[in-house]
Amino acid sequence: MELSGLPLVTGPDLVAARTQMGLSLGWHIIVACLGVGMPAITLLAEWRGHRTGDVRYRLLARRWAKAMGVLFAVGAVSGTILSFEMGLLWPGLMGVYGEVIGLPFSLEGIAFFIEAIFLGIYLYSWDRLPPVPHLLSGVPIVLAGVASAFFVVTANAWMQQPTGFDTRNGRIIAVAPWAAMFNPATPPQTTHMILAAFMVAGFAMASVYAVAMLRGRRDAYHRLGLLLPLTVAAIVTPVQIGVGDWAARFVAENQPVKLAAMEGVFETQRGAPLHVGGIAIDGQLRYALKIPRGLSLLAHGDPDAVIVGLNQTPKADWPPINIVHLAFQAMVAMGFALLLLAVWLAVSWLRRREPPSSPWFLRAVAVSGLAAVIALEAGWIVTEVGRQPWIVYGVLRTSQAVNPAPGLVWGFVLVTLVYLVLTVATVYVLRRLARDQPVPIAPQEPDVTGFKVT
């Protein structure tokens, strides 16, 4: 396969392909985060239940496991679509560089096997295995979930910092697959992603119970259901903000155009200010709150450091500035809002061994899941849209990678419709699961009616 021979595709088909990829990834990532984070939190509950004999923990674990059954199925199919789309939409990428990023995907395949196998055992053998072996059968699910998040993000990191291959005349002549996988962007990106998964899962699970408590179900069972996942997420949040800072420094060093877009820096300058809010109009960032020298300090640890502006890059190679800038602001805002929530919980706990009793606390927890998801999606928009117009940064353009076949727009319409239906059905089924009172004997066996939770 020759690079030079690839046609350039522009127009509606390219837009459709990009939107379709963004839609399916943005959908998958939510379920995938629950797939990474939920098993760990569920096992924690099951373990507490086993240790203390507290039936509420055991009920919570079974409840969550039942939801996991649904979420994993949806995660598996939405992930499969992604593997198809890598070829259907981006043959120009996969046909040449597929082998360079193949290794992490193969490793991910192993992780998927482990995950699916032990999920089958864990969910279906609740009553057939003694408690401890059953608990242990859940551990590989956690490990494999974290591992698959790691592997797939290394592939994405490679798209940001392509290393580990040699080309001659547009053909790949040598590949160092391990070097490609452990490229410079791998450490910050994978860490940031895995922590994000735990935040999303923890806050989202806690949200469900906060809503129930706001509706008046304030029994001990709901309190535990709120506290356990919320504690996990609250512990992760400050760490995540530190890692986010690391990610930002990395971008500043290695993808200056993306950083300039994130911060709306048009002119190269020394001692650049940090912009809060604002919108880019006609080559200028308007209405932003400026914190003098903030950006130079944060990005390079030196208030007088030089920040490369967009003017160093031809306009044709700019990513969409406003999208990247606003997405970055949204992620940071959500991150700090969630940090406040975590601090509130911690202070109250240290003082009184009790979560805050204010209804505003419950209201805040009720929206925290949404906030974490917004941060997650916004972060990916920064990463992926900020990389444009490159699909492989500095190496291959998105327009060279897309499938030149006509009619991608129709595929996009069809896929969007299917995702719409899938979203409605998933939300509906999960809500039913959360509302139905009876608790199942084993998560995947028919419900036992009349079993009261409270």
Binding site: V74, L107, P140
Partner: protein
């Protein structure tokens, strides 16, 4: 040597997908044909009970095959995916509908929901193998040229060979499922269900046999080169194995040797798949041999090494999963 090992591993993955996930698809087809809600309930429960714990693991074989394709033979992957993007998009959508509807139905408690999700599950179980089959037919009949989107977007998978391959894929999955379910029902002590599925296995077995015979005629007219590859040289023993096992399955079914027929039914599929692979080797696409398409040695070595180590983890776990799920208690 590494490219050959890689392609063999890929074909093992494809075979595993055809056998295990194929039977899961077939289960969905029988779900579709099980009849009205009340009358069909025991059969649907048997299907659900048999595939519930294993379908996700079985499904991973497909991901394995896709990933190994883009790692091991990237340009072939790109050519296949871009030319066949219409049927493959439909496959992808079918997979979404099937997996999620199956999980949704399981946790639904109302009849209308179970019906709705059940219908989506069953219908996509029928459609998905058909389009996968047409894609296989397109590659086998040399209708996917190298290069990106170089083939005809419509006729590459709408032609006699593709259509017969699609129908055969549907028939084979239904047949495999009926054979597997017969034994499952017997083990659970549901002899009525075992009899019902035995009858279905016999009927679909005959239909698939007729379809295969028709397929040879279609190949003779539409893809003579493929027919020659299948019926001469290296591929012939495998084709014979497939035909003989297929034929032997029928008397075994008749005599209720359900365990033995599992083996022969599987061998019939294995023979066909490997006959195709061996017959076409070393050419993957018209004018593209394995050696030209294969990834660099370092990639193949790293990937195969990783997979070998992974297999040490996966194979015992899979065995444990099948053990625990086969030991299971009866459907309520």
């Amino acid at each position: 040597m590494l490219p050959e090992i890689m392609i063999v591993v890929l074909w093992i993955g494809l075979t595993a997908y055809a056998l295990f996930a194929g039977a899961d698809f077939g289960g969905g087809i029988w779900d579709l044909l099980a009849g009205r809600s009340a009358a069909g309930r025991p059969q649907r429960e048997l299907v659900e009970h048999s595939i519930g714990p294993v379908w996700e693991a079985n499904h991973v074989w497909l991901i394995f095959v896709i990933v190994l394709m883009w790692t091991g033979i990237p340009s072939v992957f790109a050519a296949v995916a871009s030319t066949l993007y219409i049927p493959l998009t439909l496959v992808a959508l079918g997979i979404i509908a099937r997996g999620s509807a199956f999980a949704f139905r399981k946790v639904s408690t109302r009849l209308w929901q179970q019906r709705l999700f059940g219908a989506a599950f069953a219908f996509s179980s029928l459609v998905t193998p058909y389009f996968l089959g047409t894609a296989a037919g397109a590659v086998a009949s040399r209708r996917v040229p190298p290069g990106i989107a170089e083939g005809n977007l419509v006729t590459s998978w709408n032609n006699p060979t593709s259509i017969i391959a699609g129908l055969l894929a549907v028939g084979v999955t239904a047949y495999l499922a009926a054979v597997f379910l017969t034994r499952d029902a017997q083990r659970l002590g549901r002899h009525d269900l075992a009899e019902a599925f035995r009858r279905r296995a016999l009927i679909t077995g005959c239909l698939v046999g007729l379809l295969s015979a028709a397929g040879l005629i279609v190949l003779w007219l539409d893809a003579p080169r493929l027919l020659t590859e299948l019926t001469t040289g290296r591929a012939l023993p495998l084709l014979v194995l497939s035909v003989v096992s297929g034929l032997a399955s029928l008397p075994l079914l008749w005599r209720r040797a359900y365990l033995a027929v599992r083996l022969t039914a599987a061998l019939a599929v294995v023979g066909l798949l490997w006959g195709w692979g061996v017959g076409q080797y070393p050419e993957l696409l018209p004018g593209v041999t394995l050696d030209r398409a294969a990834a660099t040695e370092t990639v193949l070595a790293a990937t195969l090494g990783a997979l070998a180590i992974g297999a040490l983890l996966v194979v015992p776990s899979l065995w444990w999963l099948y053990r625990t799920s086969q030991r299971g208690h009866s459907p309520s």
